[in-house]
């Protein structure tokens, strides 16, 4: 009987230790909301002095980048909000917006906004669980749950803001240099109110993390 007692005591302890030890050994990312996955990337031209520019022209429609042959299913619900937020940030940086170029000459900068979506498909593996207390098994012994693989699919949206230096136009190449780019990546599928909030917040962040901008 002593052997039996020792066996079960040790087994019970083994079970507790096992359960503690495997307690989410492969933790999840800790990112719970769609907004947690937002990424804001900016790139600038180190040879440009952004304080020398005074005026800019904001292209008043947003380009939807859609692969050739595919239908444009991207909503235009947020287009105006995006344009307004970009304009607000440029104003906050003391750049003057030119809305009508007739008779006033070329502005210093042009800003063009585009959006695109990407569908991602893949497989995710969810790890299993070993041990644990399981009714019907001898104390301390549990089933081996091998984990499972599930298909995953999600769609991301990107807002791209390009700032072009119109004064540096290269006529022979017909190229206007892009001197600043912001890319805002995030998961789609959020509520409308959250999307509105995230767009404003992330556009603001793209300007905030670019301290070289402004007059």
């Amino acid at each position: 009987m002593k052997f039996l007692k020792n066996y079960y005591s040790g087994a019970a302890l083994l079970s507790v230790i096992t359960a503690l030890s495997f307690w989410s050994c492969y933790p999840d990312s800790g990112l719970t909301s769609v907004a947690d996955h937002d990424v804001i990337i900016t790139q600038y031209d180190p040879d440009t002095d952004y304080s020398t520019f005074q005026t800019y022209f904001l292209v008043d429609s947003i380009e939807h980048i859609v692969p050739e042959g595919e239908e444009d299913n991207i909503t235009r619900e947020f287009d105006q909000q995006i344009l307004d937020r970009v304009a607000k940030n440029m104003t906050d940086l003391n750049y003057q917006r030119i809305t009508d170029t007739t008779g006033v000459g070329l502005p210093d900068l042009a800003i063009k906004v585009s959006v695109t979506t990407t569908k991602w498909q893949g497989w995710s593996w969810y790890p299993g669980w070993w041990g644990g207390w399981w009714g019907g098994y001898p104390p301390g012994w549990g089933p081996w749950w091998p984990g499972y693989v599930v298909p995953t699919e999600f769609t991301t949206g990107s807002v791209l803001i390009d700032m072009l230096d119109l004064g540096a136009y290269i006529p022979e190449a017909e190229v206007v240099p892009v001197i600043w780019v912001a890319g805002i990546d995030g998961l789609l599928g959020d509520s409308r109110s959250n999307t509105v909030y995230r767009l404003d917040r992330n556009i603001d962040q793209s300007f905030n993390q670019s301290p070289y901008l402004g007059r």
């Binding site: 307690w23 990312s29 990112l31 804001i40 790139q43 600038y44 995030g186 993390q209």
Partner: protein, 196 residues
């Protein structure tokens, strides 16, 4: 890996001849990052486990092996500059460290309540790093040589096993990428005598 296999075989053959008794230990591991590791992931890490076996080679000594799984993770919202590129997002920094160690242990004279010991482990650490930024992931797996000195205490229980408490410093050497790994482990569990 070839050298590790040879060392393992030598030790195991030695043990087979000299073994007087053995035990199997299992621990719940708490880790505290230090040094370069702490710069990446800070704070107490509550996820981990360890298994070990020891064979007594003398009255006060044993040889054995230890395997652990220590998980480190921290999520930070941060802005990072790469030359003229700036990236802002939630970074999920994750390390899964798997030490595979050969161990040598010396036991001090203890009473009926506690048996203190000191030990040294040496072997390889399989270090699996992942950095998630938004939906993007960067993975890096490395094998790194490492050492692990430890002090521990065995508390004999009346139920045929010992409570095991050990404090281990893990140090995995730089694998050439400035990626040394170091952390203190506070491991508590039990050791079942004569399981082998």
């Amino acid at each position: 890996m070839k050298y590790i296999t040879i060392i393992l075989l030598i030790i195991m053959s030695s043990v087979a001849v000299q073994a007087q008794s053995s035990f199997f230990g299992m621990t719940y591991d708490v880790s505290i990052p230090t040094g370069e590791t702490e710069k990446l992931i800070s704070g107490v890490q509550w996820r981990g486990m360890g298994l070990e076996g020891r064979w007594y080679t003398g009255k006060n000594t044993s040889l054995g092996f230890a395997w652990d799984w220590n998980v480190f993770q921290e999520t930070v919202l941060t802005t990072v500059d790469f030359e003229n590129i700036t990236v802002t997002g939630n970074q999920v920094r994750n390390i899964n460290a798997f030490p595979f160690l050969m161990t040598a242990t010396y036991y001090f004279k203890g009473g009926s309540v506690v048996q203190p010991y000191v030990g040294l482990g040496g072997g390889v650490y399989f270090v699996k790093k992942r950095l998630n930024i938004g939906i993007y992931s960067l993975d890096e797996d490395t094998w790194q040589w490492g050492l692990a000195p430890e002090v521990g205490f065995l508390f004999p229980m009346d139920l045929g096993f010992n409570i095991l408490l050990k404090l281990r410093y893990n140090y995995a050497f730089d694998a050439g990428k400035g990626d040394e790994l170091s952390y203190f482990g506070i491991n508590v569990g039990f050791a079942s005598i004569e399981l082998f």
